[in-house]
Each structure stands twice: as structure tokens, then as C-alpha cells.
């Protein structure tokens, strides 16, 4: 006979009350088979000496405990003992206690011929999962015995539910060529979708120009407020800071050549032609592009966009057009605010360096012209149109589920900023060729 092997588990010794015989008359034993008789075979209802512990834990009748609900996880610690061919469970085997004995029980189960549950005082479906896993580990000839009627009912119910994890199908081995091909097809599909959206939105804008009544003025005003008015504070702050930074940074090398007087020209041209529109675009992409994507993405996930289509209302007209118009109008204003704030910041630095206001103004007047400002504002309008379009497209092409909205917002910000820089490059080449 195999020597008795006791597996120490838990912090206590568990309930060793051998005299505890709840359900003793109703112990079931099925030697030779791991199967228990179905709970129904044991008769309807619950064992008279055991009240069902909610959630499947089976405990002695409430009267035995003074009517106090048994704690879900406390009390007797579970214990697993391998005694020769018998694997014996005792104590409370619940979701909160099974973790302590899970691995030792499975190790001890190997080669067992019988699993004895007669000392099990509490069993819930998590504990039943352990008993069933141990039975599987022991092999098909193992007999589960000694279960009281309520324990057997929980075990039977769980056994019907337990199925081995399905074997994962072998992962499809994608060769490098196939991976590249799949990536290329995905990109081409996305590009085609983008072109379709571009065409659809262009057609919507042209139709709106022909029939201005299609444009929902109230929506445009609402979006103008959101895109423009509410972004003023942030734009002012960034503008002043950029002006200060540019002036200070440029003063160091300029001083070496005694050319500090030209700082207003340098900062003025940088801001009006380049940095004003670019930074306003970054603000728009981060603040508004993501908001558009999240708002339209949520509507797409909630099938509101589908509902619009079914009602015969073009989402491009109702949802996209007002946003495009608002962003196209607001963006030059934001760029102008950024320009002016930057110049103010630069002026402050020049004053701190000892240059009088009139001198700074004269330098600005001499160094920058109206064309610099108009070129920058024109760029800004295009940036606004493109960033809003990218945000709307990201929202309308959102997938399903809660992640779709986050993905759409991310795509809007990343796409918006990349498009912004690329467009800026195109404008730089264009202005150079045109000699502006």
C-alpha cells in the first residue's frame, strides 16, 4: 500500500470533525466510474440536512449555524490528502479557497483510483471544477464517491458544463510574401476608401455651394463655437510661448553677429508663413479632429449613422459638411490669433533686451508683408479642411465595439498631423516655385 501522503495546504488543518455526517444517508458512490449519478436520480429537492449555500456552495442547514449565513471563503481550510489509491478532499472547497490546493491536488491525483468527497463540507462550482480536473488527471477509471446529495448535485451540474478546452487550430503560417501582400491589400483598400470619401465630400461641398439651403447653419455655428471660440485660450497661450521661445533662441546666435535687431523679422516671417498655421493645425488636429472622430465614431457604433441613411438623410450633408465648413472658417482665425500672440511674445522679449517698441514695429513693417500673412492664412484654411475631413472619415469608418471609438480618435490625430506636415511641405515647394 502506498504510504499515506499528506499535502499541507492552507493555514489551518481544516475541519477534522470526523463525526460530521451531513447527508450521510445520501452519500453517493460510483466505484469504477468517474461519473456520478445524475442529481435528478437522487431525488428532487435538497438534502434535508443541508441548505444550499448560495452560488452552489453546499453547507449545513442554517439552523446548525444559528441562521447566520456561512462566510463564503472563511472557516475550514480545504485539504487534500492522498491515501494510497484514494484522493480525499475535505473542508470548504470554494472559489475563494480552491486556489490554495489546486496544483497540489492535481499533482496528487495522478494514479488515484478513487476520489473521496465524504469530508467535503462546502462545494461550489469553482470547487467542483477542481474535483473534475483532479478526476481527469487521475484517469478515466477513477471513481468519485462519498458525495452528499447537494455536493453531488453541484458536481453533476458542473460536470455537464465542463468541457476540455478546444484544441486551438494550428496557426496559419503566413509567409513573408503573403504578409506583405495582406498588408498591401489593406493599405490599398484604405486608400480607396479615402479617395471615395474625398470624392463624396467634394461632391457634397459642391452641392452645398449650388444649394446653400442644404447647409445647416445652426450646426455650423455650433461647430464654429466648438472649433474656434473655445480654442482661443489655448491658441493664445501657445502663441505667446512660441513667440517668447523663438525670440530667446534666435537672440543667442544673432547676438554673435550684432544682428539682434533683426529678431522681429525672423520671428515674424517664421510665425506668419510657417509656425502660426502649423501650430494652429496641431491644436486643431489634437483638439477637434479627435473630437470629430470620437463623436461620429460613437454615432457609427450606435448605428445612428445607419439610421440616418435609412431615413434618406445623407450623413455627409448632415454630419460632415457643417464640420468641414466650420473648421475651414475657424482655422485661419486661429492661425491669425497664433500669429498675433507670437508677435506679442516676441515683442516682450525684445523689450526685455532693451529694444524700444517703435524699433520692433519698424522692423516688423519692413520685414513682413501682407502676402506672408495671407499665404499663411490660406494654408491654414486648407489645413482646417483636411484635418476636419480626416477626423470625420475616421469616425464614420469606425468599426464596432468600444475600442472602435478610441481607434478612430487615434487615427484622426495621427492622420491629421501627418497630413498637416505633408501638406505644409507641398505648400513650401509651391510657394518657392511661385516666388511668394
Amino acid at each position: 500500500m502506498t504510504p499515506r501522503e499528506e499535502i499541507p495546504v492552507g493555514e489551518g488543518q481544516g475541519d477534522r470533525r470526523t463525526g460530521r455526517e451531513e447527508g450521510a444517508a445520501e452519500r453517493s458512490s460510483t466505484p469504477g466510474s468517474p461519473a456520478l449519478p445524475p442529481a435528478e436520480d437522487l431525488g428532487p429537492g435538497r438534502a434535508p440536512d443541508a441548505a444550499p449555500e448560495p452560488g452552489g456552495a453546499v453547507v449545513p442547514a442554517a439552523s446548525d449555524r444559528g441562521g447566520v449565513p456561512a462566510p463564503a471563503g472563511g472557516g475550514e481550510a480545504p485539504e487534500v490528502v492522498r491515501d494510497g489509491e484514494v484522493l480525499r478532499f475535505s473542508g470548504r472547497l470554494t472559489s475563494l479557497t480552491a486556489g490554495r490546493v489546486w496544483r497540489p491536488a492535481l499533482s496528487a491525483a495522478k494514479g488515484a483510483r478513487r476520489i473521496d468527497l465524504s469530508r467535503l463540507s462546502v462545494l461550489d462550482t469553482s470547487g467542483a471544477a477542481l474535483v473534475l480536473a483532479a478526476a481527469e488527471e487521475a484517469g478515466k477509471d477513477v471513481a468519485i464517491e462519498g458525495a452528499s446529495r447537494p455536493v453531488a448535485a453541484v458536481l453533476e451540474r458542473s460536470r455537464g458544463a465542463a468541457r476540455p478546452a478546444p484544441q486551438a487550430p494550428p496557426a496559419r503560417r503566413l509567409g513573408l510574401v503573403r504578409l506583405l501582400g495582406a498588408w498591401g491589400v489593406g493599405r490599398m483598400q484604405a486608400a480607396a476608401d479615402g479617395v471615395a470619401f474625398l470624392g463624396e465630400s467634394s461632391s457634397t461641398v459642391v452641392n452645398a455651394l449650388r444649394r446653400p439651403r442644404n447647409l445647416r447653419a445652426a450646426d455650423v455655428l455650433r461647430h464654429l463655437d466648438e472649433v474656434g471660440t473655445r480654442a482661443f485660450g489655448l491658441t493664445l497661450l501657445l502663441g505667446v510661448l512660441i513667440g517668447v521661445i523663438l525670440a530667446f533662441q534666435s537672440s543667442i546666435p544673432m547676438r554673435q553677429f550684432g544682428a539682434e535687431i533683426f529678431i522681429p523679422r525672423l520671428v515674424g516671417i517664421s510665425l506668419l508663413r510657417e509656425l502660426g498655421p502649423l501650430l494652429a493645425g496641431v491644436v486643431l488636429a489634437g483638439r477637434t479632429g479627435s473630437a470629430y472622430a470620437a463623436e461620429l465614431g460613437t454615432m457609427t457604433v450606435n448605428e445612428e449613422v445607419s439610421a440616418l441613411r435609412i431615413m434618406g438623410i445623407d450623413p455627409m450633408v448632415m454630419l460632415v459638411l457643417p464640420r468641414l465648413v466650420a473648421a475651414t472658417i475657424a482655422m485661419p482665425v486661429l492661425a491669425l490669433v497664433m500669429d498675433l500672440a507670437g508677435l506679442l511674445g516676441m515683442g516682450g522679449v525684445m523689450l526685455s533686451l532693451g529694444f524700444p517698441v517703435q524699433l520692433v514695429l519698424n522692423q516688423l513693417h519692413a520685414g513682413i508683408g501682407l502676402s506672408d500673412m495671407l499665404g499663411g492664412l490660406g494654408k491654414a484654411a486648407v489645413f482646417g479642411l483636411v484635418i476636419a475631413g480626416i477626423g470625420c472619415r475616421a469616425g464614420l469608418s469606425a468599426g464596432s465595439g468600444p475600442r472602435a471609438v478610441g481607434d478612430a480618435a487615434t487615427a484622426a490625430v495621427v492622420g491629421g498631423i501627418v497630413a498637416l506636415v505633408m501638406l505644409d511641405g507641398v505648400f513650401a515647394v509651391l510657394f518657392f516655385r511661385l516666388g511668394w
Binding site: P54, G55, G56, L96, T125, A129, R157, A162
Partner: protein, 268 residues
């Protein structure tokens, strides 16, 4: 001159007349409202261990709000809700955590986490509250999914399953820790009759085999009659409870016109 009579305020621990033996939930003189709008008041009932208790009523009468009061998401404007001897509204720290561990909730929408598979959804409470090793959590979660008939869908994402499957997965997650009490919010809403009947059967089976106490919010007549051991009925007009008892008896012998109209689906 009349003399001043000092009346001791009611407390949650006072015995309720006609108390249900073995009550695991006690709702005592609870009132709830939002702003100046009173939803219900003087709501008092008890739920016994192991019964399927149904909260029913028409739309907007406060059924789901009462459920949220019971699970401690809302605090009542008056009265007490006691669950397994503790009061969630006032409990804090470990006491609150222990009480919450005794509850499982299936939300009306399922409220499954979209980025996780059904198996991972069910494993989540086990990870948070138990020391089960990963393979054990997975085995336990598979049993729970099997209990609700979703063994084959364990690896699917919530977006890939039907509404009925999402409800069943919600029940599986609610049962993850084998809580003594399960709250189900509109389990049959939006389901076809066959799926709905299957879900009703599942609730009855789980209550019978696992001894769980179920508190079910619904207004589906067939479900109420199929699963309910006892019920209360809330009414928007009356701003409170208008009936309590065995739903079949309420159907056969309605105590008032509102209950009669509800069970006979009559227009007011």
C-alpha cells in the same frame, strides 16, 4: 396640554413584522428620487435565501433604480437596504469589498468588456478576488461558461455574439465567484421567445441546483410567471409598491386594477 411623546427612530436592525425567515436581503422603508422627482417611497420587502425574487412593474416605475439601490450603486434618500446583514450604502473598505464579493450582477446590456474574450471576461473577477492559478481560473471560467451553454463561444469577443449569448455570458461572469446572490436586470429583454425561455430555464436550474438567490428585474410576463417564486410590483402612479406575493396568485387574484391590467395586458 398634550405631553411630548418621544418616538425612537426606526433602525435597519429592527425586526420587520411578517419577516421572511432566512432573509438574505432586507429592504426597509426605502425611498428614492432624483431632484424633486420622487420615484418611489415606503418600499419594504425581504428576499429569502434560495428564492427567485422578481421586481416587476411598467416602464419608468423604478425597477432598475431599485436594483441599483440594492447593489449599492445608489444611496436611498430614505430607508435601509441590508444584504447578508451588511448595509452597502454605509459600508466601506474591507466590509464593502466583502459584501460586494457576495453579489453578482448581470447588467441589462451584458456590460461585457469588449476587448476581452468571453473566457477572459469570466476570468476577470476570479483574478481580482481569488488566488487561483491561471490554469485554474481558466478551468473554472470554462465551467461557468458551460453552465450557461457557452462552452463553444469561450474564445469569442462580445462583438461577435448575439444579444442572448451576451446575456448568458453576463450571467456566467456574475457567477464567477459563486456569489450567494445574483441580480439580473432585464434578462429577457430584447430576446426572441425561444432564447428567452431558455434563459428562464437556466435561471430556474441554477437556483435549484446551485441554491443561488436570484433577484430579477423584468416586465416580461412569461418570465415572471416561469421563474418567480415571489415578486413585488412597483407602480409609477402610486410611487411605490402596489403588490407583493406569488406572481401566479397575483395573476389569478389581482389585489387591484393596476395589477390586473398588468397581468392581463389591458390598456388603462
Amino acid at each position: 396640554m398634550g405631553e411630548l411623546v418621544v418616538v425612537a427612530p426606526a433602525t435597519s436592525r429592527q425586526a420587520v413584522p411578517g419577516a421572511v425567515p432566512g432573509a438574505v436581503i432586507e429592504v426597509r422603508d426605502v425611498a428614492m428620487g432624483f431632484g424633486s422627482r420622487v420615484l418611489f417611497r415606503h418600499v419594504t420587502f425581504q428576499v429569502a435565501r434560495g428564492e427567485v425574487f422578481v421586481i416587476l412593474g411598467g416602464s419608468g416605475c423604478g425597477k432598475s433604480t431599485l436594483l441599483k439601490l440594492m447593489i449599492g450603486l445608489y444611496e436611498p434618500t430614505a430607508g435601509h437596504v441590508t444584504i447578508l446583514g451588511g448595509e452597502l450604502a454605509t459600508a466601506s473598505g474591507d466590509e464593502r469589498r466583502n459584501l460586494l464579493r457576495q453579489l453578482g450582477v448581470m447588467w441589462q446590456s451584458g456590460a461585457l468588456f469588449g476587448s476581452m474574450t468571453l473566457l477572459e471576461n469570466v476570468m476577470l473577477p476570479l483574478e481580482a478576488h481569488t488566488d487561483l492559478p491561471r490554469e485554474a481560473r481558466e478551468a473554472v471560467a470554462r465551467v461557468k461558461l458551460g453552465l450557461v451553454g457557452l462552452s463553444d463561444a469561450a474564445g469569442r469577443l462580445p462583438a461577435e455574439i448575439s444579444g442572448g449569448m451576451a446575456k448568458r455570458a453576463g450571467i456566467a461572469r456574475a457567477m464567477a465567484l459563486d456569489p450567494p446572490i445574483l441580480f439580473l436586470d432585464e434578462p429577457s429583454a430584447g430576446l426572441d421567445p425561444v432564447t428567452s425561455a431558455g434563459l428562464d430555464q437556466l435561471i430556474k436550474d441554477l437556483a435549484r441546483d446551485l441554491g443561488s438567490t436570484f433577484v430579477v428585474v423584468t416586465h416580461e410576463l412569461q418570465s415572471i410567471l416561469a421563474i418567480g417564486d415571489r415578486c413585488i410590483m412597483l407602480d409609477k402612479e402610486a410611487q411605490g409598491m402596489i403588490a407583493e406575493g406569488d406572481p401566479r396568485r397575483l395573476r389569478d387574484d389581482p389585489p387591484n386594477d393596476t395589477v390586473r391590467r398588468f397581468f392581463r395586458r389591458e390598456v388603462a
